[in-house]
Amino acid sequence: MGRKTIKVDYLARVEGEGALNVTIRDGQVSKAELRIFEPPRFFEAFLRGRDYAEAPDVTARICGICPVAYQMSAVHAMENALGIEVEGQLRALRRLLYCGEWIESHALHIYMLHAPDFLGYAGAVDMARDYPDIVKRGLSLKKAGNAIMALLGGREIHPINVRVGGFYRTPTRKELEPLAETLKQARENALATVRWTAGLEMPEAERDYHLVALHHPGEYAMNVGRIVSNRGLDIAVADYNRHFVESHVQRSTALHSHLREHDCYLVGPLARYSLNHGQLSSLARETAKEAGLGVTCTNPFQSIVVRSVEVVYACDEALRIIDEYREPERPFELAEPKASEGFGCTEAPRGLLFHRYRLDASGGILEAQIVPPTAQNQPSIEADLKDLVGGWLDLPADTLRERCEQTIRNYDPCISCATHFLKLDVRHE
């Protein structure tokens, strides 16, 4: 068969700038490289010397698509360092804000970035010509998530209301209640989304993933929990660096994160769903079952269905929080600066997001470490390509290239997020 190269010079419908090279030799994939040419922005460097209280505003700017994830991991890490716990309604409001981000980010990915792959369109705007009602449903769902972000966070992108210890201002019951109507409608749209995505033609693909996600005994893990896996990992967030390591892979110019004891692993919706299925709301579980999903899911193309199930859950959970909301006495717990180290890990829409900070006695940041989900998934993306492309070689060249792109978009990779610790030297053989 000889040698064949699939090249995608600029990956579309992902956040940030990346490219793909797959080399096939004699019917085998000899090389699969996800290249990153996003310029470095040096967040970990310029966080040094800033005040601990600035971390949520600064780290939000790592990503415009999932700023809440950065804010949540940052405030949890700072609170861990300073020895305060945010409980009760403030904790619930944080979860509500995160539900908003899950809904808007998942809806964006499902309808605008991922679905065009299954239906053969360049993008959602093209798709809207033939499926106007479907695209409108996606936009409406996304808008509902954004409504939570705008009310609780002040705005959808880079919310301003998140602070270490809680919020600057908490909403009144009266302000929060109208969201419930929006979310009930959104839940209907989310249910329709699960049914619709379940009907899309799915490429056959099963992968033997090492799935890693947060797990919490009392709830579908979002903001807090232990880091667990389907192969027996069960560690506290503070032990992250004992088990995970970022390293250089010679064939790639990007740093890859992997488990010391194993190798590559998968974070994100498939991992969360498969490890925490029993904690979904009953509606989300039933809908998943109707859609033909088992209690675990390891077909990466079905991530679009799993995301849709998580949107049903996030709508349910947001409605529960609004229903049980009582205005807290004060909007935040006060923190006293001290020399310390803190760890925070939350579930960004794309998966585990780890932060670590070392602080001086006055609360100045001495050191910051941020490991975003896309960096953790990079080796897994390449492994998917290596594993799956061999089975698709009889596809026409264009279809094969598109299938490779789709394989990457299964992950909803966020390349801007990943950039601040990626190697950016792009070398060609």
């Binding site: 419908r13 956040e15 940030g16 996003e38 922005r41 310029f46 964006l108 808008k143 600057y168 610790f421």
Partner: protein, 260 residues
């Protein structure tokens, strides 16, 4: 200006950024399909596959220039764009990544990368207007949805966009906010900051932190004096001016007055 017999070709370009400002276009959920009907979205890689070849009637440019490659690429984008509008603090002021401009880039690289020799980067992060002529600059970290729609529709009608240039303070008055600095002693960049967010932070009981950059002719020393009276130390004031628009003239100059 748009001619009636042809749909203007729109391009959305990304340089060093978080993608938040181009996402704002997708966040216009109610208007997106209308916009898409009025223009030909010819290049927008975050939203659709496309080659990026050809010329553009309107280019929206997000992000700052931080690599040699991008410094060349923006020249090409300019050559092929009839109207070029920068969107957001990165493109109009260098963004938060311009914090490197005050530091030694080698220190920054050593702090983040195991092998700094592999990194291709400039020692500065600079706004698009430092490199090519820009027809209009839309501010904000992130930009405002309403202002983005105003810019696009102004372009379609062949008029200048209307984006008020007053300070956040005036927006607070219009919104009926109690001044957080006067009433609570909360440090606020509002007096120096360009309007655009509808005085968001003071409406949530916190001080403005300058997302929209400096307004025209701000009185920075007067604000610094007030911050001093509120007990904000010199180093703290320096950081206050150095955030998402750190490299924008008046913020930069005032921060430098607080430097070592």
């Amino acid at each position: 200006m748009a001619r009636s017999d042809h749909k203007p070709r729109l391009g959305v370009w990304k340089f060093a950024s978080c993608d938040g400002c181009q996402l704002t276009l997708l966040d216009c959920e109610d208007e997106l399909l209308q916009v898409a009907g009025a223009v030909d979205i010819a290049y927008f890689p975050e939203a659709a596959r496309g080659s990026g070849r050809g010329t553009y009637d309107l280019s929206l440019v997000e992000g700052s220039i931080t690599t040699l490659h991008d410094a060349e690429r923006i020249q090409d984008v300019r050559r092929r764009s009839r109207t070029l509008v920068t969107i957001g603090a990165c493109a109009t002021a260098g963004g938060i990544q311009a914090l490197r401009n005050f530091a030694d880039i080698d220190d920054f690289m050593a702090a983040v990368y195991a092998h700094p020799e592999y990194i291709e980067t400039l020692s500065t992060s600079t706004p698009i207007a430092d490199h090519v002529p820009v027809d209009f600059e839309l501010r904000g970290c992130p930009i405002s949805k309403q202002q983005l729609l105003e810019v696009v529709s102004a372009y379609l009608c062949g008029r200048r966009p209307v984006t008020p240039a007053h300070s956040v303070c005036l927006d607070c008055k219009l919104r009926g906010n109690v001044c957080v600095m006067v009433a609570h002693g909360t440090p606020c960049l509002g007096p120096m900051t360009h309007s655009g967010c509808n005085a968001l932070c003071p409406s949530y009981n916190r001080g403005c932190y300058g997302c929209y950059g400096p307004k025209e002719n701000p009185n920075a020393p007067a604000l610094s004096e007030r911050l001093d009276q509120l007990g904000m130390g010199r180093a703290e004031r320096l950081r206050f001016y150095r955030t998402f628009n750190a490299w924008a003239g008046p913020f930069r100059e005032e921060s430098e007055r607080h430097g070592p």
